[in-house]
């Protein structure tokens, strides 16, 4: 089985970097609180070093490395017959969902996604839900319509 053809929007990368930064900011606030605690109550100093290491690692991984790896890996393809997905950084998963198995399709958009004109599409079968994150808004809308048009209710097979 070959790689599915299409990639998700380039803007997703920026968005994921921002998510990483938000996470980084939270860790930063916690670290700052820890430093206050170290000064105020004379907590052991090594706590500070651990916090610093976590901060650096987080900056490298969640802001820089993981989003780009994740973006590079994410592939999808929708044909009349099926939906194919590929994702995962260390553990790569390729998934095949036949169109006749699709029961409904949803798109969702959080405030940040909307700002970037992106949307997440989730494809539900009777037993599973598959998500394609951060697609271009318009593309997601088209995809949603074409999938729901293609998906037929297979009677009795559920």
């Amino acid at each position: 089985m070959e790689e599915p053809a299409r990639q998700i929007s380039r803007r997703a990368l920026t968005l994921w970097r921002i998510y990483g930064m938000i996470q980084f900011a939270i860790t930063f606030v916690v670290s700052a609180a820890l430093i206050v605690a170290i000064v105020r109550w004379e907590w052991p100093i090594w706590i500070m070093w651990v916090a610093a290491a976590i901060l650096v690692l987080e900056l490298i991984f969640s802001v820089w490395l993981l989003p780009s790896l994740k973006w590079k890996r994410w592939r999808y393809e929708v044909t009349e017959q099926d939906v194919e997905l590929q994702h995962g950084i260390l553990l790569i998963t390729k998934t095949l969902v036949p169109m006749v198995r699709v029961q409904h399709v949803d798109t969702e958009q959080g405030p940040l996604l909307r700002k970037f004109r992106l949307a997440t599409i989730s494809i539900s079968t009777a037993a599973t839900v598959h998500k394609i994150p951060a697609l271009d808004e318009q593309e997601a809308e088209e995809l949603r319509q074409s999938i729901s048009a293609l998906a037929r209710v297979a009677e009795d097979d559920v």
Partner: protein, 488 residues
């Protein structure tokens, strides 16, 4: 049957008993917390509270019976209930999949049954199923017949005249469990653990209540003998719990029989409490054969139906055991009479040799990792953790030999073991999604795992086979792909 009907009055009693069961622990707690046995003089407030609660439960059981009505109207089963908030639940007959009957000890003397209405609950959390606590057997049968007729009328309007033959339903017995098998199943079951923990909780409660302080001195004096007594008691409890569990299992599975009726599977079982389950054949999504570590060497297995049946009640695994305990060699023969399109007489191919280390690592790495600090911190005794890790490695090793897969034109068979050896037998058109997973390391040596999902109850069931050749998994996905010509 258009006029609203009430349930049999005995359901008020059943409601009461059920409420009592839920309330018994808090009530006991109230009594115990307020001194209970030890304080000598029992205070009257907890007693009063308990009495009040009891009265309330009794009243609510009665009122619930009084306000609960059901009727068939305009193609719907209409249930109305509730005292202050009148609740109405209308279930379209089309959505009713089957009626399951069970008879508890309250039902038996009055020829009553409890009816569970099973719906095709594709709508997840919406609770659309219903329970009729107690109605007369004839009424239940009438109800079932009405539903059946309604559906037939709707789907085959042309054959109105031939309904005489269709209402006369033929029940063909396809499987019956032997008493010997039931007993053997009870003996090898894991139910002992459940009873044991129950007894444990009970004892811990009783121990709390005993005036320990007063007898503490004697306990210290007798500590040597005490250890013996405790050990002896523990073993005794174990044996009794095991015995109870065996009796319960026998009672639950006595007279286990499977019938084929029209297009339904009907499973009846039970001795004190009789149960009848109906599973429409076209809701069957696949089969699962389980062999655990105790039963496998004896050559026994169980067969479970993966059904798209809706209710959350049905997610209780045991209810869908089609063949709870059967000689492995006999499975194929019995199943041929029940679901002929499933082929169980097949040879499975095994994963490639080079995936053996991965099987061992997958099962045991966590244990090896944990055993290092355990061994260091609790030095001599902690070394025992190495044994545990070795056992896990062994499990991984047999996991490799138990794994297997097969693909025929319309059927996929996957077998894997984590603790229980599970064989999934699935039809292509019932599989909801299939995927291949591989880590980047596995990608380098061209191994991959396959994972397919089926609809089961309100959720899904997942079948795996780990670490196959990448090409094998690729072939499986190709096989699953709706139209192969497009892409090949």
């Amino acid at each position: 049957m258009f006029e609203p009907k009430r349930l049999h009055p005995i359901s008020a009693v059943i409601n009461f008993v059920k409420g009592l069961k839920d309330a018994v622990l808090p009530l006991v707690a109230i009594v115990f917390l307020n001194g209970g046995f030890t304080s000598g003089s029992i205070e009257w407030i907890p007693i009063l509270v308990s009495a009040g609660v009891l009265l309330l439960i009794l009243a609510s059981g009665f009122i619930r019976w009084l306000r609960f009505t059901y009727r068939m109207e305009e193609g719907e089963l209409r249930i109305e209930y509730g005292l202050f908030f009148r609740k109405k639940r209308y279930i379209p007959i089309d959505r009713i999949q089957s009626l399951n009957f069970s008879e508890g000890i309250f039902h038996r003397p009055f020829q009553l049954v409890k009816v569970d209405v099973e719906t095709a609950g594709s709508s997840g959390n919406e609770k659309s199923e219903a329970e009729l606590t107690a109605i007369r057997k004839e009424e239940a049968e009438q109800l079932e017949e009405m539903i059946h007729e309604y559906k037939q009328e709707k789907w085959t309007p042309a054959e109105e005249e031939t309904d005489e033959s269709s209402t006369e339903e033929v029940r063909e017995k396809v499987y019956e469990m032997k008493m010997k098998e039931i007993i053997l199943m009870a003996i090898t079951s894991g139910g002992a653990g459940v009873v044991l923990s129950g007894v444990g909780v009970f004892f811990s409660q009783v121990m709390e209540a005993l005036p320990l302080g007063a007898i503490y001195q004697e306990v210290v004096d007798w500590i040597q003998i005490g250890v013996l007594v405790v050990a002896f008691t523990a073993i005794l409890i174990l044996v009794i719990a095991y015995g109870i569990s065996i009796l319960l299992t026998i009672g639950r599975y006595a007279n286990f029989t499977v019938f084929l009726q029209d297009n339904d599977l009907v499973i009846t079982r039970g001795w004190l409490e009789k149960k009848q389950m109906t599973i429409p054949l076209n809701r069957i999504q696949g089969l699962r054969i389980d062999e655990n570590l105790i039963r496998q060497p004896l050559g026994y297995a169980s067969v479970t139906i993966i059904s798209a049946g809706g209710s959350l009640l049905q997610s209780d695994e045991n209810q869908l055991r089609l063949l709870p305990f059967i000689k492995k060699a006999e499975i194929a023969g019995v199943m041929r009479n029940i679901v002929e399109e499933y082929d169980l007489d097949i040879e499975l191919s095994r994963p490639p040799k080079r995936s053996l280390p991965r099987y061992i690592i997958r099962q045991s790495w966590l244990f090896w990792l944990a055993s290092i600090p355990t061994s260091i911190i609790f030095f001599p005794l902690g070394l025992l953790s190495l044994l545990v890790a070795a056992a896990a490695s062994f499990l991984g090793w047999i996991g490799y030999y138990d794994a297997g897969w097969n693909i025929s034109e319309r059927q996929m068979t996957l077998r894997s073991r984590s603790l229980i050896k599970q064989t999934f037998i699935m039809k292509k058109h019932r599989i909801q999604a299939a995927s291949m997973t591989q880590t980047i390391l596995q990608k380098r040596i061209r191994l991959g795992s396959v994972r397919v999902s089926l609809k089961s109850g309100a959720g899904g069931a997942v079948a795996h086979c780990y670490y196959l050749n990448e090409e094998t998994v690729g072939d499986m996905l190709d096989w699953y792909q709706p139209d192969q010509k497009i892409r090949r």
